[in-house]
Amino acid sequence: MPKKAASRVELIHGTLDMLVLRALVFGPLHGHAIATYIQRTSEDVLRVDHGSLYPAIHRLKKRGWIVGSWEPMPDRNREAKYYRLTAAGRKQLTTEHSKWRQLARAIARVMEPA
């Protein structure tokens, strides 16, 4: 494994699925775009390699939270597999988001008591 830059942090276990769902809120994306989205919005702190991304996608697909379909990419002469949220996926995102928010607040309270 190549060493990671010090500025990057490891994803908390189980949060990747939530991030993938979040990436799809504004519309369908293909795998690479999901990775890029997460990387960019986290300002390069979170980097997702395909070794974790595709298993995560597969997990979500299996649970019926996202569906994939081959579609032509805009501006390019090729197709990519685009994933979109299902209704169940949207609901799952809401649940996980609120759960995560609670968790983050709780951790914050412990780590930085007022």
Binding site: M1, P2, H30, G31, H32, A33, A35, T36, D49, H50, G51, Y54, P55, H58, R59, K62, R78, E79, A80, K81
Partner: protein
């Protein structure tokens, strides 16, 4: 529904995933370039970032539905391919496992049926067989009871909750439905079904009223007889049949598992003559009882003995005082001494399996050492622990499954041999089969073996780097592992020796048993039994005439040299037939003394000549004695020893039974001769039973004279005896077309049958010993070969330095030989100490017979040395150059 054609959708999904990852890869490069990285570096970086696409794919594949199955299939295929590349290893392993598993499955099948589950009755462990010993007569076991005693027990015994009386196998002639046939019936009290807790499969058991005197006769058929004679016709219930001319109605059919007292009974009929008012002193019934809840067998024994003694004042001459109850659990009485053998065998084959596992483990060890490098490479390439475990487990599972399957086939074959050799009195042997339980047992055995073997190489893991360093040189295995290997060899030798000694002892016993002089000449004789229906032959006179007519017809047949008849032949299925107390003229028995109990037979003239039973003193019984109803008897040597010690019996006069109970005043019979002992219960009788022969009296008033309604005929011929069966059948049909021949067989058959249990034990032990010896030799050969391979370098050096090849070979044989000697020492000590366990099964051989010990030891040592010598010779023949290079 799961789709098992996983290879199809696997390809589809794989292609899609490849495409998706391709896109990802291309986009990654593009992204890098947009960031200003040169193309080459971008590609490299993308490649690096991608690392192992294969791993990702693998991971995804594992997540898929059916992935486990798919993986298993793939691993199995790979394992099979790997094993085919080392056929010697695979073959040795599979055969070893097959032999061991097969032997275990076969013996377990026998033990399960015969020992663990011999009686298909409810709560069968509470059933007791009433037996007695007569200590003052030195008679260890009598299982016949006077009916008087039965009723005493029925009324008084508090330790028993149920009691049933029965007579073993009685042959009767079935007529009325097709050809006449001799069938075996057991006459019993109506309580038998409730005591045994069995219910008929069809119809019902007979009631108390039907078992009362004067009631019209009913019968319950055995399943086998119902199938054989009535073609499973359910309409048989209520059908009239005729047994010995007595009209009988079929009221029920028993389930197939029911076989009491033995599997050869065709039907059960009530014994209406066994009532309180007709209770006799004749020892003619067997009794089975059920222990009351909470009562122990010891309590039952003491109570039964006490109740027998209580009868003494009422019947002072009957010897009830001498009886000591040895009531046994019916389980033990039925299975008898063979249970011990079977348990020993099960343990032995279990040990054989352990040794086989050890052998295979050894093979696996050798293989895993050879595989160290491959495994190290696999690990270096990123194979996880799971993959390595799978690698070995699939191999061992595949081997064990194949071995188990072949073993099952072997077990099936072995069982057929065992059942064929089985003694007829062994319960449920005919039911022994590879049923679901045995399959499960074998499967479980293979599974456990596979797991155990598969994990052996895992214990041997060394860190990757170390094993990559090491594996280049075939450095001698560690001292510790050599010790383990030697121990293994020693244990195998010891085990094989113990089993060899046991089967050797059994073989000697069998030989001795077959060499016993039975007191008659079994060659060229055919025997069969004919019964006369009471309706057609109402009295002794007519019966005697009919028997004589049969003898005359048979004598006229071509090739027949002698014919005679007896009410009971020697070794007649372990039956006493008839016996009673013997009274001697001029020897009034003082109160408290007990008259000798003797077996009685009625015979036609020339019986001793036909049987070629030697007359020791006086004369035999002639045809004219029978015709003139001469009041004469012939006794055997055992009777002389008991009743006339140190006296001349010739001319003494005797009579039987309680004179006060006899009709009129029974006549005294004069002893005219003494013949040699012939066995009654078994070939090897330590205390031959006193026997007495009298002419088949037609009208003479003899108390307790044997009934003549059925007699066994002996035909001595110059032809092959079997060829005589058909002419004899025709000849008898001319006398009375309603007569049927039963128990058609030669005297030789009777002898063979008497030795059947010994033969069975011998075959079982021989199988175990053979398997153990084979596996032991193969194992030792394997271990020695391995050791030689390990020492090739050293041997090369020795040879190069001028060692004689002979010396090298000797050195290696010595190494194996010393281990073998240690094993033999342990084995001999074990066999010596354990001899007691099989002592009761032996005949005429001490359990420490030096000849057997020496012979088997020599055999084993020879075979083991051969197994050591073959690899040693190979080593000695190496050219030094080759040997040194090989390393």
């Amino acid at each position: 529904m799961p789709d098992f054609r996983f290879w199809r959708w696997r390809r589809q999904e794989d292609e899609e995933l490849d495409r998706e990852l391709d896109v990802h890869f291309a986009l990654e490069i593009e992204a890098q370039r947009e960031a200003g990285v040169p193309l080459r570096d971008a590609q490299l970086a993308a490649h690096r970032a991608f690392g192992s696409v294969a791993l990702t794919k693998e991971e995804l594949r594992d997540m898929r539905r059916g992935a486990a199955l798919e993986r298993l299939w793939q691993e199995t295929r790979h394992a099979a391919r790997r094993l085919l590349r080392s056929p010697a290893f695979a073959l040795a392993t599979v055969l070893t496992l097959a032999l061991a598993v097969g032997a275990n499955a076969a013996i377990f099948a026998v033990v399960y049926r015969v020992v663990l589950n011999p009686l298909p009755y409810g709560a069968s462990d509470r059933l007791v067989a009433l037996e007695f010993s007569i200590p003052i007569r030195n008679i260890p076991s009598v299982y016949f009871v006077p009916s008087r005693l039965y009723f005493q027990y029925l009324d008084r015994a508090r330790t028993l909750s149920g009691l049933a009386m029965y007579m073993g196998a009685n042959d009767v002639t079935l007529t009325g439905q097709g050809a006449p046939e001799r069938i075996r019936v057991s006459r019993t009290t109506s309580s038998l079904a409730s005591v045994l807790r069995v219910t008929p499969a069809q119809g019902r058991w007979f009631t108390d009223a039907e078992a009362a005197p004067g009631a019209s006769q009913v019968a319950v058929l055995s399943h086998g007889f119902w199938v054989r004679r009535f073609g499973q016709d359910p309409g048989v219930i209520g059908r009239p049949i005729s047994l010995d001319g007595v009209p009988t109605v079929v009221v029920g059919v028993m389930p197939s598992s029911y076989a009491f007292p033995d599997p050869r009974i065709d039907a059960w009929v009530p014994a209406p003559f066994a009532t309180r008012t007709t209770a006799t002193d004749a020892y003619m019934f067997a009794v089975v009882g059920r222990l009351r809840d909470g009562a122990t067998i010891a309590e039952a024994r003491s109570e039964l003995t006490r109740l027998a003694v209580d009868l003494e004042p009422l019947y002072p001459t009957n010897g009830y005082r001498a009886l000591a109850s040895t009531a046994t659990r019916l389980l033990d009485a039925t299975v008898g001494s063979i249970a011990v053998t079977l348990w020993i065998l099960l343990v032995a084959v279990g040990l054989v399996l352990l040794v086989a596992c050890a052998n295979v483990a050894n093979l696996f060890l050798v293989r895993s050492e050879a595989k160290q490098r491959e495994i190290a490479v696999r690990r270096a390439l990123g194979a996880g622990n799971r993959a390595i475990v799978q690698y070995f487990l699939t191999e061992s599972a595949l081997l064990c499954a194949t071995g188990g399957a072949i073993g099952l086939a072997l077990a099936w074959a072995a069982l057929r041999v065992l059942v064929a050799f089985g003694p007829p009195n062994l319960p449920r042997l005919n039911e022994v089969a590879l049923d679901r339980l045995i399959l499960a047992f074998t499967f479980g055995l293979s599974l456990v073996t596979a797991l155990a073997l598969g994990s052996i190489p895992l214990l041997r893991f060394t860190p990757v780097i170390q094993s990559l360093h090491e594996s280049g040189r075939g450095s001698a295995a560690s001292q510790g592992r050599h010790h383990a290997r030697h121990l293994l060899m020693g244990v195998q030798v010891a085990l094989a020796l113990v089993l060899l000694v046991a089967s050797g002892l059994m073989l000697r016993s069998f030989q001795k048993l077959r060499a016993v002089d039975p007191g008659f000449d079994a060659t060229s004789t055919l025997t069969f039994r004919i019964g006369l229906p009471r309706t057609d032959y109402p009295d002794r006179g007519r019966m005697a005439v009919a028997h004589r007519a049969v003898v005359d017809r048979l004598s006229a047949l071509p090739g027949v040299s002698a014919v005679s008849a007896s009410t009971c032949l020697p070794l007649s299925e372990g039956q006493l037939c008839q016996g009673g107390p013997l009274f001697i003229e001029g020897h009034p028995f003082p109160p408290g003394a007990i008259p000798p109990f003797v077996a009685m037979r009625a015979i036609d003239g020339g019986y001793f000549d036909t049987m070629r039973t030697r007359v020791l003193r006086g004369r035999g019984i002639d045809r004219s004695d029978v015709d003139r109803e001469e009041p004469i008897v012939v006794v055997n040597q055992a009777l002389v020893n008991i009743a006339f010690p140190g006296q001349d019996p010739i001319g003494q006069r005797v009579r039987f039974g309680n004179p006060s109970l006899s009709r009129g005043s029974p006549e005294w019979l004069t002893i005219g001769g003494v013949v040699v002992n012939t066995p009654i219960f078994g070939l090897a009788e330590p205390n031959p039973f006193p026997q007495l022969y009298m002419p088949m009296f037609a009208s003479r008033n003899v108390n307790m004279a044997p009934r003549l309604d059925a007699m066994s005929f002996v035909v001595r011929t110059t032809l092959t005896p079997e060829a005589l069966a058909e002419p004899a059948r025709r000849a008898i049909g001319e006398v009375d077309s309603n007569l049927a021949l039963g128990q058609v067989r030669t005297l030789q058959d009777i002898l063979d049958r008497a030795a059947a249990q010994m033969a069975f034990t011998m075959v079982l032990l021989a199988i175990a010993a053979g398997v153990s010896l084979t596996l032991g030799v193969v194992g030792i050969y394997g271990a020695m070969s391995y050791i030689v391979t390990q020492r090739t370098g050293e041997i090369g050096v020795r040879l190069a330095l001028g060692a004689e090849p002979g010396n090298v070979a000797r050195m290696i044989v010595w190494q194996g030989g010393i281990v073998a000697l240690a094993g033999i020492t342990v084995g001999l000590a074990t066999a010596f100490a354990g001899g007691r366990l099989i002592e009761s099964l032996l005949y005429g051989v001490s359990p420490r017979d030096p000849g057997v010990f020496a012979g088997t030891t020599a055999l084993l040592l020879g075979v083991v040395l051969l197994a050591c010598w073959l690899p040693a010779r190979r080593a000695a023949r190496l050219s030094p150059l080759e040997a040194l290079r090989a390393d």
